[in-house]
């Protein structure tokens, strides 16, 4: 990590000493300038909030109902943001499926009776994981085992170095702004097991990639700067797109207070190790300011929690100051708090601190309520859990997004296969009351 915000490196407790019991204290407050630029403060007055709340698009987005918010934001940059968020969500869905397939059929996990066509699924999973050579090997190794094999071979051929082709039977049509594509029926495949006469249901992770691309194209056709919303969630090996300044309205109901925060989180997500200097973001990202004292050799998760709670209080005060005592929007401040935790996750990932990452992930989940339950983060958490074979929480998280992200039933099929394997490996268990 390069030089951090040295003047702000005051007692935030802990640091590398994880076992230290001493209480952590909130050390840093966001500068008044940055706080004033936050969307929370910009819309704190009853009039401004009333204006936003009266718009059908925001009403739908508050409930994360993209099917209603997409058309309601007709032709605007906000519509582009909706498409971009769905694109990010499907990227995380693809990652979830890839993790599930690798953990089900990958090295050391194969079982008696697994279908021969699992090789195709592994190929797709490895492609998503940016293991291109391995992916091509798996795709070329797809052997005959069922009547669907020809279709799979065709699909495999279309997975070239340029990316997934138009997987068989999954033509989503040309991207159409303000709409959702019609999804193919699931399960996409039924593969015969090599034991007995049963068939294994399977869903193709290529569909999630196609959906991600479909929404990205729709978003880009409306507003190229919408790529900023995808940057924090890109798949392994993907490059981030450019950044620009987004308005307070453009950031409304986001966990990021300003577009500087979004840029900062996107940079952490896609940067090479040691290439991000938090200090360079301090003038435009409140999150960079808040996290600086929590970052040392490791990330002090308790410090991040304190900073998140401190920001909540600071935002409440700033909203009140900006608009008079009538501004009482704890839900907006909640989004700020969750933003700190989620940025802390990114920082821990960036620094390779798995322990802090896990602690902050759970904290971010626990603190998310109402509009701060973000489908993209929930799916990313499910993908992370799946990579850890923690299927129980992953299933809950995925199920919770079934109304926001169309197609979760297909994604669930990949996760179910892993869940069955994990639970049958788990040994004896009794119902408890």
């Amino acid at each position: 990590m390069k030089v951090l915000l040295a003047p702000l490196l005051v007692a935030c407790g802990g640091g590398a000493e994880r076992s230290q019991v001493a209480p952590t204290t909130t050390a840093v407050q966001v500068s008044p300038e940055l706080l004033g630029k936050s969307w929370q403060v910009a819309f704190a007055s009853p009039e401004a909030m009333g204006e936003m709340a009266s718009q059908a698009g925001w009403g739908a987005y508050f409930k994360k109902d993209y099917s209603a918010s997409l058309p309601a934001f007709g032709g605007s940059k906000l519509q582009a943001r909706m498409h971009a968020e769905l694109s990010a969500a499907y990227r995380q869905a693809a990652l979830l499926q890839a993790n599930a397939i690798e953990q089900t059929y990958g090295e050391g996990q194969a079982r008696e009776g697994d279908p021969l066509e699992a090789e195709y699924l592994l190929g797709a999973a490895r492609w998503i994981h940016n293991q291109r050579e391995l992916a091509l090997q798996s795709l070329e190794a797809v052997v005959s085992g069922s009547t669907q094999v020809e279709g799979l071979k065709q699909a495999a051929k279309e997975w070239t170095t340029e990316g997934p082709g138009g997987a068989t039977g999954m033509n989503l049509g040309e991207p159409a702004v303000g709409t959702l594509p019609v999804l193919p029926a699931d399960p996409h495949y039924e593969f015969p097991e090599q034991v007995g006469e049963r068939k294994v249901e399977a869903s193709d992770p290529a569909l999630s990639l196609h959906l991600s691309q479909w929404h990205e194209s729709a978003a880009m056709s409306l507003d190229p700067t919408a790529a900023m919303w995808i940057n924090p969630w890109r798949l392994p090996g993907e490059r981030s797109s450019g950044v620009s300044e987004l308005s307070a309205e453009g950031m409304f109901l986001s966990p990021w207070m300003t577009s500087g925060d979004l840029e900062f989180v996107g940079a952490l997500a896609s940067a090479e190790p040691s290439s991000v200097d938090l200090a360079t973001f301090a003038d435009r990202s409140a999150l960079a300011q808040l996290l600086a004292p929590c970052s040392g050799e490791q990330v002090d998760s308790e410090c991040v929690l304190d900073q998140a709670n401190g920001l909540h209080k600071q935002l409440m005060g700033a909203m009140e100051a900006a608009s008079g005592a009538s501004a009482d929007h704890p839900m907006l401040a909640d989004l700020g708090r969750v933003g700190v935790l989620r940025a802390g996750i990114r920082l821990a990932q960036y620094q390779g601190d798995e322990q802090a990452e896990g602690v902050l992930r759970v904290a971010a989940l626990d603190n998310a309520t109402g509009p701060s339950i973000d489908p993209v983060f929930q799916l990313s958490m499910a993908a992370w859990d799946t990579s850890n074979r923690n299927t129980q929480r992953a299933q809950d998280l995925l199920h919770g997004q079934r109304l926001s992200v169309p197609g979760t039933d297909a994604i669930r099929i990949s996760l179910n296969a892993l869940s069955l394997r994990v639970s049958r490996d788990a040994g004896a268990g009794m119902p408890m009351h």
Binding site: R111, E112, D366, N390, H399, D425, G427, A428
Partner: protein, 524 residues
Amino acid sequence: MGIKKNSLLAAAGLSAALLTTGQSLNFYEEALPTSMNPLYAKSMVDTRVNELVFDRLYFHSPINNSLVSRLVDQWQMSEGGRAMQLTLKSGVKWHDGTPFTAADVCFTIDAMLDEGTPSPIAAKQREVFAGCEVKEENIALVRFTKIFHNPRNRLGFYVMPSHSFEGNTAISPDHEFSNRPMGTGPLKGNRGRRGVSFNAVPNAHHQAKVPQMSLQEGADPLVQVRTLQNNGVQGIITVPPPYRADVSASDELSLKSYDLRSWWFVAVNTNKKHLSDKRVRQALNSIVDRTELRKLSIGVEEGEQNSPCEFISGPFVQTSPYYNRAVEVQETADLDSALSLLQAGGMRKVGGTWHYRGEPVNLKIGIKASLDVEAPDLLSQVSNQLGAAGFQRQQHKISTDEWNRMVVTGQAEDYDLIIGKWSFGLVEDVNPLFHTRTGGRGGLNIFNYSSTAVDTLLAQFDGARTDTQAQDAYHELHEVLADDLPYLFLWKLDTKSAWQTSVRGNMISAYYYWTDFDSWKYIQ
């Protein structure tokens, strides 16, 4: 549903004064543990207490789910994959200072294999373990009944001390150990009449930062929440949904998710003559208006998104791979359908009351008392709906003791309907609930339900060679049970805990809760 006023509020201050002493971390549990012997755990309270007092040989990290051990230093497979040699960590001691050795690991396995240990948990483990041999003081060779994939996953049992039982592997549930257990876990526990006190025991593998804990039985949820707000206790294990907003609103409290697969049911006594015809049970299923019940007892409005309470149509939560999505949920009442089913099932309505063979039907309905805290008035609401449909009823709250002695042992035959909840971890084995009580099977079959078709499907699940075969068996079981209705399946209800923000590092693990207790801190 708003939070009701309660005269017991005044007691909250008193509780606070009584409970806050020294550096003790105090919390409300759903009930007192029934046994602190891991082999005789019956409830989730028992399981959670075990996690504080004992160590499992292997467990999953609540942070990243990795399979780890505090007791095993090294492992290696042997005997062609049918055995595993475990080298134990040095310096680990039991709470009385006795060294932990390979003899304790083998004693625990031998105790589970001993038919003289009448433990349902042990009976399940007999399908996994074939034996255990002490190779050296710190080396044990564990033998399995067959070759398992990822065999360390099978080693998730709690290790018990040989010396507490003087090596006698036939362990009785009435042994003093059940009240005053001896473990290697972070805390030593003593059960009193009104709670359990815990004291930290420093060890080579545990360094708890909370020196003392006190478990109290929670009663009125409003009192629990108010006591928490007053810092009379620092935590509540289960916060009912109607009280969660109150907790969330406070900067001093935090709600925390507790991942548990729990579903609620009304068990139906199929051996009662008036309930033996499945059409009558189907009629009851149509009379129960789940949407209204959920609104009145859990506080969930119709159409509410991200509800903590989701209806089910069979013995699995909707997120389970075993849940059969083709079986529809009965969300609201269908009284017309119920009427014709009752008549077809031999019921006659006389003077507004249903009669069977000339006698009025009087349904004796019970609920496990601790559940009345989590879903207030559910018993009354179910009873009201049945009453409105024309049934006479009697309502009873069943104590934990009666539940353990009579209900789960299949001896509560005088009841017609019993409201309950089952919780599961990763393993969703419902065979003990629905298999005919015979040969050790059906050990939790409340009303001794028996169906050849169900038994066949349960056997298919047990004998499944592949994951798909197991899934198919349970999908079909779901369909059969939703038709035959030994239970009226209600809902899955998620679980949330509340803790003071002065309690830090409090990672809650799925199912076991306290797995990472060494990281918990209480900053007064």
